[in-house]
């Protein structure tokens, strides 16, 4: 019995695969879909072409002064000329190397966390260094006054350096305070619980700007005579207290998601409160809430811009103070785009990192 040899399979219709198939499936699925696609394409071209022309084609990149810009496109010369101010603020230029060392250390701490293949132990120790020794070293380096370094008062700090300092310190301080507040809110002790609830709800109910105003106007009234903080420290206290309340709510969500059996198991093992929290509950709870915690970090990072309202010069503050310079005409858009890009890079990087971290710590607790 010799069956006829089977003919080769026909290829799928050309309209279903490849570029044409993709277009049909994703852009021209139906009449309405096709019309929407065409309208959007038209609008996109109408908007993007002039923007790219302004930002790249007609833009001026080289030069040293305002007259080097033709005025036809973006004047990136302005950014190039002021970049040092945007990064270092009023820091004396002879001492820039001290800030540069801090940036290098920061890169040393952060970069390996993103590079695949770096062993977990190295990452861990770099992380611990970043959270403990690095802030101290940076403070000594930037502030000076020790080891023969010329002291530089904090009102000279500014630009991106100040933004990163505020964000880094705020993040580092608000997470542990937030965890303690969250534990307090879940505590069995009525006094501790109500104190935590009141603290958290008050901070969450008011805008950060009023907290910063309060920190700058009312702290001096609350403190005994002779004790005074500088403006930067006051802003930091305000930011930390404010965001620790938000952090507490995020962490509380994680604590509530832990089944009661875990608490009981920890008790049954004879662990005391801090051990059962530190070894059993928190490691699980914090893993649940990584996205929320990082979202709070991102919000904190963005809200550091508010310090310019109480007179500190962060990135946005430095940009804001230079675009009104009469020597340059109409550079507001360029300045804001630069500042926006700076913030966007950090915030987007953080959100990507959190997704990455979530995947790495994923131990099957998610149903999907």
């Amino acid at each position: 019995m010799d069956a006829e040899p089977r003919a080769a399979d026909l290829p799928p219709p050309i309209t279903e695969v490849g570029v044409v198939g993709w277009l049909r499936a994703n852009l021209f699925r139906s009449w309405t879909s096709s019309i929407v696609t065409l309208v959007l394409l038209y609008l996109l071209v109408r908007m993007l072409v002039p923007f790219l022309d302004w930002a790249l084609v007609s833009a001026d990149f080289v030069g040293t002064q305002s007259s080097d810009c033709s005025g036809q496109g973006a004047c990136w010369v302005f950014i190039g000329q002021r970049i040092q101010f945007f990064i270092y603020g009023f820091y004396p230029s002879a001492e820039y190397w001290r800030v540069d060392i801090c940036y290098a250390l920061l890169a040393l701490v952060l970069a390996p966390q993103f590079i695949p293949g770096v062993p977990m132990r190295v990452r861990k120790w770099l992380g611990i260094f970043g959270m403990t020794l690095f802030p101290v070293v940076s403070y000594v380096l930037i502030g000076g006054g020790w080891f023969g370094l010329q002291p530089i008062p904090s009102d000279k700090w500014g630009g991106l350096t100040l933004t990163l300092m505020l964000a880094f310190t705020g993040i580092l301080a608000s997470l542990p305070i937030g965890i303690v507040l969250a534990l307090g809110r879940r505590s069995q002790m009525p006094v501790i619980r109500s104190l935590s609830v009141v603290f958290i709800e008050i901070w969450r109910g008011v805008p950060l700007i009023s907290v910063l105003f309060m920190a700058s106007v009312m702290l001096p009234i609350f403190l005994p005579e002779g004790v005074d903080f500088n403006k930067l420290l006051r802003a930091l206290i305000g930011i930390t207290l404010f965001w620790s309340a938000y952090m507490a709510e995020v962490v509380r969500g994680g604590l509530q998601a832990i089944p009661k059996g875990q608490y009981e198991a920890a008790d049954a093992l004879g662990l005391n409160y801090w051990k059962s929290m530190g070894l059993v509950i928190l490691p699980q709870a914090l893993k649940y809430v990584i996205p929320g915690v990082v979202n709070t970090f991102i919000a904190l990072f963005k809200d550091t811009t508010l310090v310019l309202i109480i007179g500190l010069f962060d990135v946005l503050g430095t940009v804001q103070s230079t675009i009104i310079d009469p020597a340059w005409r109409n550079v507001a858009t360029e300045g804001y785009l630069f500042a926006a890009f700076m913030f966007w890079i950090f915030c987007f990087g953080m959100s990507r990192y959190s997704q990455n971290l979530e995947r790495r710590l994923h131990t099957g607790h998610q149903t999907r």
């Binding site: 852009l27 006094v191 109910g205 001096p220 946005l316 804001q320």
Partner: protein, 395 residues
């Protein structure tokens, strides 16, 4: 014999090993520290205020303010009191947050649904909008709209205009103001009657559908009633409304309704920024409804539109409402950034100018914070009520 065996007396743990004793001790210590801190702050405050010659009290609210406010919903001038400035600022805050909440909700729902679109281009554009504007600080966006966009607009004489009625220039946006003539009252009454009629029709339609299974096109009939009745009245009473057009007079516009650039910039930034967060909330809510629900509804023979309206959206709302509430709260609190561009909101007018003039730091900061706390509590109260109404009712 076992009965005669002497049991050792049950050893009682030392007091510091007893969790209950420890808990009480811990709370007493916490209260003591709190009381001490409160007392110290109180003493310091009294002392410092005496040193600076500041008197406490709310008497300043009755004194004349002596400064002008560029935008006010209620009549205001320099001779009025600080209490009046408080009210003006509060109303301005409520105005911008109220309109912002409505606009951000619309933008957010559109962007959130668009991001789930099967059309690749639509979902990519929505994703790009969300990822770009979510990651840029709000203050920067406010500055951008105010200093880079609205300030760069032409002067009033070279306004961009839409016909003879809408003008946009660096002094703001000018639109015609509706002025009601006698007879407009009848139109409002007609609208009220129409709304009552629609509610009655809806009630009747539901009763009929339960009895006979016949659906009724409540939406279209209702729309016809709500639009038709006032329209007929409007035409019958001889169109009792006229528009006050903005006119260029000298260097500025008069007449019409002017929106100051500070307001427009703040509103644009708040809407665009909060819209991204609402979009993500909406997307998460819709994704949380399992696909089986859609399939079940389709297999019951419901058309696509009803599947969304009756099955997907009610279930998604349960997930959307709580985070949506906190976005509304954030928008309201973020409206205080107005102070950076000079829109006269509560923080700018009261915590800024009034505080600088009177030096009553404690009273003013406390009042401002209390207002925001009250607004926050009110919004959460309303949204929690709605949440209870749509929450899963397990039997």
């Amino acid at each position: 014999m076992p009965e005669h065996e002497q049991h050792p007396p049950a050893s009682r743990p030392a007091p510091w090993r007893n969790p209950q004793v420890r808990a009480i001790a811990f709370q007493v210590i916490a209260l003591a520290i709190l009381a001490w801190a409160g007392y110290t702050i109180f003493q310091n405050t009294l002392h410092n205020m005496q040193e600076r010659g500041i008197h406490t009290g709310f008497g300043f609210l009755g004194q004349p303010a002596g400064f002008g406010i560029i935008f006010s919903l209620i009549p205001y001038d320099e001779t009025m009191s600080y209490g009046r400035t408080f009210l003006v600022g509060l109303l301005n805050t409520l105005l911008v947050s109220g309109i912002g909440i409505v606009l951000a909700t619309i933008v957010g729902f559109i962007a959130g649904i668009a991001r789930l679109s099967k059309n690749w281009l639509v979902s990519r554009i929505a994703a790009a909008y969300i990822e770009i504007f979510r990651n840029i600080p709000l203050l920067l966006q406010i500055f951008f709209w105010y200093f880079a966009v609205l300030r760069a607009l032409p002067s009033p004489r070279q306004s961009m205009h839409l016909g003879d009625s809408v003008f946009l220039n660096n002094r703001g946006l000018y639109v015609p103001a509706p002025v009601s003539q006698p007879g407009m009252g009848l139109v409002w009454i007609a609208l009220l009657i129409a709304i009552v009629a629609v509610i009655a029709v809806r009630f009747w339609a539901r009763r009929r559908q339960l009895r006979t299974g016949q659906p009724f096109h409540t939406f279209w009939v209702g729309l016809a009633i709500v639009v038709g009745m006032p329209l007929v009245t409007f035409l019958a009473t001889g169109r009792p409304i006229s528009f006050d057009l903005p006119r260029l007079q000298g260097f500025n516009f008069s007449g019409g309704m002017g929106l100051i650039p500070e307001f427009v910039a703040l509103l644009a930034a708040l809407t665009i920024y909060t819209g991204t967060f609402i979009a993500e909330t909406v997307r998460a809510g819709i994704l949380s409804v399992r696909h089986g629900q859609t399939e079940a509804a389709l297999s019951l023979g419901l058309p696509q539109g009803l599947v969304l309206r009756l099955v997907v959206i009610p279930q998604a709302m349960r997930v959307i409402i709580p985070p949506l509430t906190s976005q509304y709260l954030n928008l309201t609190k973020n409206s205080s950034l107005a102070t950076a561009i000079g829109y006269p909101d509560l923080v700018a007018v009261f915590m800024g100018t009034t505080l600088n003039q009177t030096g009553k730091a404690v009273e003013i900061v406390a009042m401002t914070m209390a207002v925001y706390l009250a607004i926050s509590l009110a919004i959460s109260f309303v949204m929690n009520m709605y949440n209870r109404a749509v929450a899963l009712k397990e039997r």
